[in-house]
């Protein structure tokens, strides 16, 4: 049988994407369609006294204007997006979800207050300026570190404070360990906000057909099925009356999950009110003010070690910025907790998490989703410990890795799904050694770096391992059909955001059915085609969806073999599937094409035998017991211009272990994109708010995304430790590239300034900030 899984196949969807032949939400145009524009708050925190839309309504071309008042009983906060934390003892959690249009109060800049529906977007935006809104500004909760001050203003007036959640997790006995620790490293560590900044902004087209009583919605969502179910429930429709299509999406990275954004809920509702199709396409400015963000956390972190460098414990008490609402629960900070022990055997762990509301745009997972923060904390502490102990950074890590015979390794804490965190499989040391080898770590440190330093060059090396929790449940499903043309149709609910699903999933099918990947047609993200599943996030596509596809491919294969065996009069064991044919091994002329077989399985005359089904089709599902833990190591050599603080990446190496590799080319693309985003998180991308919680860089001129100029050539090595939790043995990789990069930058920059005793305890950095840090060190000298 020809192998398909593991082949470097070019993405079959790319010709369409690259030549403008792919459907995106903004390509959907319906006769008689209207356009929406939102009036948004200019204030971060204010009472909404009145909204006068009379002038806007009178503008020619305006069809309707809606405020919260106009929604009547349909005005309801959005649903919680993840299951709320179980009401166990010691967890405090106040759920406050975003509202469809602000009613009494605005809680962040950009919160929608009214929506104009007009003949064109131009007219709609003109009419937005006609609206008179009376906002009574309030004191602002601009940062997490002051949000819990006793006299801090309240984001939610009905709560006693801005506390959104509090919980403690521990393992072992941290305090007892501290009493015996020979080395204690304590630091305050901060990570600031960034944006996902997908190339395509959000958008939605809703079309209510009153004659068929059917709603069709095109939505830039990563999770079309939950959106369909939620919309149906909110709109009082049957799920069968709502079809949600997530067509091609120009990047999502998390903020397009099943968000139930105010716009996402409002546009379908308005389509039903007006009986017209409505389009809303988010513009780039709105994307900065109305699409969720992430990463702000402040940690008081500590690591305990023996003099030999063995970790005895890790603790961190940290604040997480939830923004104005917390529909996504504790997913991000729980991910941080799951990663703050890194890839290491940490016997004692203590984590005290406090989530606070602020008058900022809400935070939800963005590629990495709390993991980069956790890895930054543990890797920074370990680097500082290595310095104190005068140990090599590679050696101290090898000393502490979870050993290969310890898997499955129970971390004794709970993960973001409130399930026990278990590391399924791994073999970390060889991956570390491979990365060190690829970048020439020893040679660089012993020979090249001293030589370059003698030439006054500020060159630094970094090497950072990381883990990634991936492939979480609950489940995905797929239906595979062999059509009479011989083509294979695959329908899954998972959705796609550019990851190469059309090719990778086709490879999983081709592996079992012996067809060319080009003959596999994937339908994804259309609830009319498949309506069971959740979505594409949490690095789960290649784990959960691919295994569901694998499961249904196996059933279809059985059906093929059974029918072919009957028609070819040969035992199933002697049959092989290749090139779209079922052949009797060693008798090539005894064969039948899959298309002919499909036609035979769907006879026009005669009866289908009792107990059998027509067609060569199967639907199957897969849900993992728990998440698979991927591992990787990034290494980098940089040169810093000590006069300008500009950083040049000279070499960048990634060795990734995400279990079975379905398509190395796609995997490498995922890593390239992830690293680019990580470089942004480390040195370019920072959302800067002032003391009034006004975002100061809400444009791509001032919010700096790394371009091809800033992203180096990335050398990639693979290592495969199969996951025992799924038949394909896959682990996720979607977020991997992003996770260790801030920690890697910190290590490499410190290494480039050996005489400055520099400590990088914050991310993102910038040339300006690096200049300040070095000035501080200079003045200490």
């Amino acid at each position: 049988m020809k192998k398909s899984i593991g082949e470097r196949i070019k993405r079959t969807e790319d010709p369409r994407l690259l030549t403008g032949q792919a459907l995106f939400v903004d390509d959907v145009n319906i006769p008689n369609m209207l356009h929406a524009a939102f009036l948004r708050s200019d204030y971060a925190h204010a009472y909404l006294r009145s909204v006068d839309v009379s002038e806007a309504r009178a503008r020619p071309g305006v069809v309707a204007v809606f405020t919260a008042e106009d929604m009547g009983d349909d005005w309801q906060p959005g649903p919680p997006l993840v299951s709320p934390p179980p009401t166990v003892e010691d967890i405090t959690f106040y759920s406050r979800r975003q509202v469809p249009l602000a009613k009494d109060k605005v809680r962040h800049v950009g919160e929608p207050i009214a929506v104009v529906i007009a003949e064109s977007r131009y007219i709609a935006e003109d009419a937005v300026e006609d609206i008179l809104v009376d906002l009574d500004p309030l004191e602002v909760v601009s940062d997490i570190e002051t949000a819990l001050d006793p006299n801090a203003p309240l984001v939610h007036d009905d709560l006693d404070s801005n506390l959104a959640a509090h919980m403690i997790q521990s393992k072992g006995d941290y305090q007892a360990a501290k009493a015996t620790a020979e080395v204690v490293i304590s630091r305050k560590i901060e990570i600031d906000r960034g944006a996902a900044a997908a190339m395509e902004n959000r958008g939605i087209v809703a079309d209510w057909d009153s004659k068929s009583q059917h709603l069709t919605v095109w939505d830039t969502t990563q999770a079309p099925i939950p959106i369909r179910n939620g919309l149906a429930a909110r709109l009082g429709l049957s799920e069968s009356q709502v079809r949600v299509i997530a067509p091609f999406i120009g990047g999502a990275f998390g903020p397009k999950m099943m968000m139930f954004y105010p716009e996402e809920m409002r546009i379908p509702w308005i389509s039903i009110q007006l009986g017209r199709a409505i389009k809303w396409i988010e513009d780039r400015r709105e994307n900065f003010y109305a699409t969720t963000q992430e990463r702000r956390q402040v940690h008081e972190a500590e690591m305990l070690l023996t003099r030999e460098g063995k970790i005895l414990g890790v603790s961190h008490t940290f604040l997480h910025d939830s923004g104005a609402y917390d529909p996504y629960g504790l997913t991000i900070p729980l991910n941080t907790e799951s990663h703050a022990m890194g890839a290491y055997a940490v016997p004692n762990y203590f984590s005290d998490l406090t989530v606070v509301f602020t008058n900022k745009i809400l935070t939800t997972p963005i590629r990495g989703a709390g993991r980069p923060q956790g890895i930054f904390v543990v890797e920074r502490l370990l680097d500082l410990a290595a310095k104190e102990l005068e140990m090599d950074p590679v050696e101290i890590r090898k000393l502490n890795f979870i050993p290969p015979d310890a898997f499955p390794y129970e971390q004794q804490i709970i993960d973001q799904a409130f399930s026990p965190l278990i590391f399924d499989s791994g073999d970390y040391q060889p991956v570390m050694e491979k990365a060190a080898g690829m970048i020439g770590y020893d040679q660089f440190v012993k020979e090249e770096q001293p030589r370059l330093r003698a030439e006054d060059k500020h060159v630094g090396i970094g090497i950072v391992p990381f883990v990634e929790t991936t492939g979480v449940g609950p489940y995905e499903g797929a239906r595979i059909t062999i059509e009479a043309s011989g083509k294979i149709n695959v329908a899954t609910g998972v959705g796609t955001q550019g990851q190469g699903h059309f090719t990778a999933f086709a490879q999983v099918v081709a592996e079992q059915l012996g067809v060319d990947v080009k003959d596999v047609n994937l339908v994804t993200g259309d609830t009319a085609q498949f309506h069971w599943g959740t979505g594409t996030f949490a690095s789960r596509g290649a784990v959960v969806a691919a295994n569901a596809i694998h499961a249904s491919a196996l059933i279809v294969r059985e059906k093929v073999l059974k029918l072919a065996s009957k028609l070819l009069e040969a035992p199933e064991e002697e049959l092989e599937l290749e090139d779209g044919y079922v052949r009797v091994a060693d008798i090539p002329h005894l064969s039948i094409s899959l298309g002919d077989l499909a036609a035979e399985a769907n006879p026009l005359r005669g009866a289908v035998e009792p107990g059998t089904e027509p067609g060569l089709e199967a639907t199957a599902y897969f849900g993992p017991k728990y998440g698979a833990i991927a591992f990787g190591v990034h290494a980098m050599i940089i040169e810093v211009d000590p006069e300008t603080m500009m950083v040049e990446i000279k070499r960048y190496v990634v060795v990734e272990d995400c279990g079975t590799v379905i398509n190395p080319l796609i995997l490498e693309g995922q890593i390239h994109g992830g690293v680019a985003m990580g470089i942004g998180n480390a040195y370019y991308e920072q959302l800067i708010y002032d003391e009034n919680a006004q975002l100061l860089n809400a444009s791509l001129a001032d919010y700096l995304i790394p371009t091809a100029n800033e992203v180096p050539r990335i050398e990639i090595g693979h290592f495969e430790t199969r996951s025992p939790l799924n038949p394909l043995g896959t682990k996720g990789v979607g977020e991997a590239g992003t996770i260790p990069v801030p920690a890697l930058f910190a290590q490499a920059i410190e290494n480039a300034f050996p005489d400055h005793d520099l400590e990088i305890l914050e991310m993102p950095l910038s040339p300006n900030r690096l200049f300040e840090l070095l000035q501080e060190k200079e003045s200490e000298k």
């Binding site: 935006e125 003109d126 300026e129 400015r285 800033e710 040339p767 300006n768 200049f771 300040e772 000035q775």
Partner: protein
């Protein structure tokens, strides 16, 4: 991000354009390459009632040699043309060197020389370079024509001598004297970004290798192009030794600029960059002047 309604005119001659500007006065805005004006309109920061599109006025697009070794550039000459013109490379190498630093190649294919000058962004390379080269601008209106030196043309942030009914039609640059070196240095977060700090230097030597004339002009450190008079004074009549150039750079950073802080760079970092880049620019200009 859609602009409010505006009237649009599409003249094909300068005279037609001037008559439209005369008619609409303050309500009108000439549209050159649109690489700044259109985004500003989409942000609704500028809401001109009338746009006078200059893109079909072919008489405004040219690069010509001037008698005496100088240059004339029509205001609507695209950056892309300037970037690849051998005459520019030969007669105004500082402009030639500046071109790739302006935004991206996509923007340069559309943006124009005159548009950048008239927009008067203090971060624009061509603004500082024009002052450093002693460029002059021809401004025309229905009532006549006048000329302004680049050093007097820029009045502040996005502000120039141009009256509402006036059009910038041409930029002229004199021949560079013999034994003149030049350099443009900048630090930008990404190559295509507005520079955090930039410096254009033009340095002329006498036959004893002493600085006869030095012009140092900064971008991104003030409301307009900032000329380093004190630093130039340090160099005047002196042989530019490394120590002297360093001293001039320190003078520039200390006395010639008063930079502000913004989200990308603090005033202190900008001052530091001015010191670094001025030294580097002087060193390179000196090397080139000696050739």
């Amino acid at each position: 991000m859609k602009p409010p309604p505006f009237e649009y005119y599409n003249p094909t001659t300068v005279d037609e354009a001037l008559s439209l500007l005369a008619e609409h006065g303050y309500d009108a805005k000439p549209l050159a390459g649109g690489q700044s004006l259109i985004p500003i309109m989409n942000f609704r920061l500028a809401q001109p009632a009338v746009l006078v599109d200059l893109n079909n006025i072919s008489e405004l697009s040219y690069i010509q040699p001037d008698e005496g070794g100088g240059l004339r550039l029509g205001a609507m000459t695209r950056h892309h043309q300037v970037e690849h013109d051998p005459l520019i490379a030969e007669r105004a190498p500082l402009i030639f060197e500046a071109m790739p630093m302006i935004a991206t190649s996509q923007i340069r294919s559309r943006g124009t020389f005159g548009g950048s000058i008239a927009h008067a962004d203090p971060s624009a390379e061509l603004v500082a370079v024009s002052v450093a080269l002693g460029g002059r601008f021809r401004l025309r209106s229905q009532s006549g024509e006048r000329e302004a030196a680049a050093s007097e043309f820029f009045l502040g942030m996005f502000a120039t001598l141009l009256e509402p009914q006036e059009l910038l039609v041409e930029a002229t640059f004199p021949a560079m004297p013999a034994r003149t070196g030049w350099a443009l240095m900048e630090v930008a977060r990404r190559p295509h970004d507005f520079a955090l700090v930039g410096v254009a230097a033009v340095l002329s030597l006498d036959d004893q290798d002493r600085c006869q004339d030095t012009r140092i002009v900064f971008l991104s450190v003030g409301d307009g192009p900032v000329t380093a008079h004190h630093a130039a004074e340090v160099l005047r009549g002196q042989a530019p030794t490394p120590e002297l150039m360093r001293a001039a750079a320190e003078t520039a950073a200390a006395d010639d600029i008063d930079p502000s802080s913004d989200i990308h760079a603090s005033a202190a970092y900008r001052r530091h960059l001015v010191k670094v880049l001025t030294r580097q620019a002087l060193e390179l200009a000196f090397e080139r002047a000696k050739l």
